[in-house]
Symmetry: C2
Subunit: 395 residues, 2 copies
């Protein structure tokens, strides 16, 4: 039989790049595609001991239902970390989420009627568009340069878009561009949000993975008007398989997000919340992150040096101060998706993420996202050298 779906499903499709990325699972392919953290960095032994401890106590509550907003102990520890990062808050200001991705879904559901506008960076995180799309928003985009979203463009967009409801922004080591929003632009973005009365959704999955330069204040910490909904995640600092993220926002917003969380999945895993809390108490996550930063910094440096040496000069790429990605720009007529399927995969055995679908409005096929977190040093260099040869032949 055939099925009739709700109108919102017109905006729910398999990603165009999903087919291509399937090749990334082929062990014969060197993939720079996924934004996966390096599994060698997962604190496996520490997590094993914490699971053992939590389950050994005869305290069966870690396997039971709990409150939908999240275990109070974990919310306290997240509030402490947020406070140390400049956003003074308490446990009641924190909502535990099934990864920050759930925050993208819930915030869109909280704020967006069909046809309302979400302002995004251009390019932006594909997963956010996937989360927002079932609410059938329109998008308005603001280009990104090495200092992040261009706030002069943002003003023009907000002035001409009264239907704008919120600005979605990844201020630190943006996905996919790697750009970091400058302090001046952070301040300016909040001024504009206030003047045009829109909210700000700040997504910070990579924030703690800084390899160069000074940490900049979060938008939430600069916000004096309770306009910023802040999303954080332990996926890149601890382990994504736990699915532990959070939102911090004004009480009037957080209460509504909590009701949507209850409706969506009752609660996150009690056990994973208890284990994350115990890990934060028993071990020094910041020290763990410092170690991870060393590893990723070296991988970033190696990728950038290999691209410098082996890619044609007509191919440029960003030099991020943190995060997991560099954003590669090919000459104007180059189609990175077609090149990948016809050349890179069959001849260089290399995969990356073609960039077109990161642009919400007008796709630009001459970009690609390369992650430096997922391959060993040798595999990374070998793959990039092979790809460089192909590019020299092609361009």
């Amino acid at each position: 039989m055939s099925y009739r779906f709700a109108d919102r499903m017109e905006r729910v499709h398999p990603s165009a790049i999903r087919e291509l990325l399937k090749f990334g699972d082929d062990p014969g392919i060197t993939s720079f595609g996924g934004g996966y953290p390096d599994p060698a960095l997962f604190p496996l032994d520490e997590l094993r001991s914490v699971f053992d401890e939590v389950l050994q106590e005869g305290n069966r509550s870690a396997l039971q239902y709990t409150t939908s907003i999240g275990l109070p102990g974990l919310r306290s520890l997240i509030a402490e970390r947020m406070t140390a990062d400049g956003s003074a808050c308490g446990p009641d200001d924190v909502l535990v989420l099934q990864g920050a991705q759930q925050g993208l879904d819930l915030v869109a559901r909280l704020l967006i009627n069909t046809g309302d506008v979400i302002v995004t960076e251009n390019p932006t995180f594909l997963g956010a568009l996937i989360a927002f799309n079932p609410c059938r928003p329109r998008y308005a985009t603001v280009d990104v340069d090495e200092a992040g979203m261009k706030t002069e463009e943002l003003e023009a967009v907000l002035r001409s878009t009264p239907e704008a409801r919120f600005i979605y922004v990844i201020p630190d080591f943006q996905n996919p561009s790697g750009a970091t929003l400058s302090l001046q632009r952070r301040v300016r973005l909040l001024e504009l949000a206030s003047r045009y009365d829109v909210l700000v959704l700040e997504d910070t999955p990579y924030r703690e993975l800084r390899y160069a330069g000074e940490q900049l204040p979060t938008l939430r910490s600069l916000d004096t008007e309770n306009r910023v909904i802040h999303l954080g995640s332990f996926s890149k600092t601890l382990a994504p398989g736990l699915r532990m993220g959070w939102a911090v926002a004004a009480p009037g917003i957080l209460e509504k997000l909590g009701l949507l969380k209850l409706a969506a999945d009752t609660q996150s895993s009690t056990l994973n919340m208890a284990v994350t809390a115990r890990f934060l108490q028993r071990f020094d996550l910041d020290q763990h992150i410092r170690g991870a930063r060393e590893v990723y910094r070296a991988k970033r440096d190696l990728m950038l040096a290999t691209l410098d040496e082996h890619f044609p000069a007509r191919v440029s790429f960003t030099r991020p101060d943190g995060g997991l990605f560099t954003w590669v720009e090919f000459p104007g007529e180059f189609d990175s998706a077609r090149f990948m399927s016809e050349q890179a995969l069959p001849h260089a055995k290399v995969a990356y993420v073609p960039g077109a679908t990161f642009f919400p409005l007008v796709e630009r096929p001459n970009f690609a996202r390369f992650s430096y977190s997922g391959q060993s040093d040798q595999a990374m260099v070998d793959g990039l050298v092979r790809l460089g040869h192909l590019l020299h032949e092609t361009l």
Copy 2:
């Protein structure tokens, strides 16, 4: 500042009973409120050994991202269980969910435009209404008797409701009534779904907790037209804190639900999926469930016997063949919510779930749901005896 929310939020409210249930956390209160499984039944040692094993193998993939539809190994094991239960299927017919609750949310999003009609049992599971409400459905209801949804009423409802999109039904030990849909009515429900071309959402959280009578076939196993979306859960058989549920449905539906799952939260916890799969391989879940059934059967029998002996004759209640609840009916003018806040809580130190909000259209205040799973035998009897005294005084 004040916030402007999307129109769907008009249907997202704190539950009227949430305030009352807060008293359930008071250790001085004997609560029959929550639908919590008995924590003494959680296989704590087995789960600890499985977590230890999964994390010890140096196989770090259990902490990494994985596919949004769920680990293939777990989907295979769920498919085997479904097949053994009469619904022949393979791993590709299974979508792993963040508890069956997530299935309620995703199915509503898949099928419901504003104003479309969902047909429910009357009364029905409050959490389902909470999940459905953000899609702004209307409800049509069909009364329940001891053999479940009255299919003669269902026909009248479907005939007069062309906007009906799906029938939501809990065939086994329904929440809150405890009723089980008879075989004859299962067949009839599917005939009517076919004739009026609506889908069926079958929710089975209590299915494996049968204490009397013969197991009846699932609607999914009787369905020859791919109309049934089946939701299952390990929350009541293993542990709710793992948040492990699943959907089985036709490929054309399951693919769309998988895309919505990806948008909603990327995936369920890789680790919890790996652990659940390993538990199913290493231990005999069916034997564990047989043990749980013995415990719950005794608790059910004790509650029913105590109610028989200590509640006034004018108070009636259901005698379910399984599940966790009995549904108590008080005389017509009785308000169970008011009685609880004014009498039961302060004077008998007893809590239950007032029944009014389980009725989607016309609330009936003279009902209440009592769970027999959450209290020790002594606390259960003492609480019910105290409540019985109060009721004798009041009625």
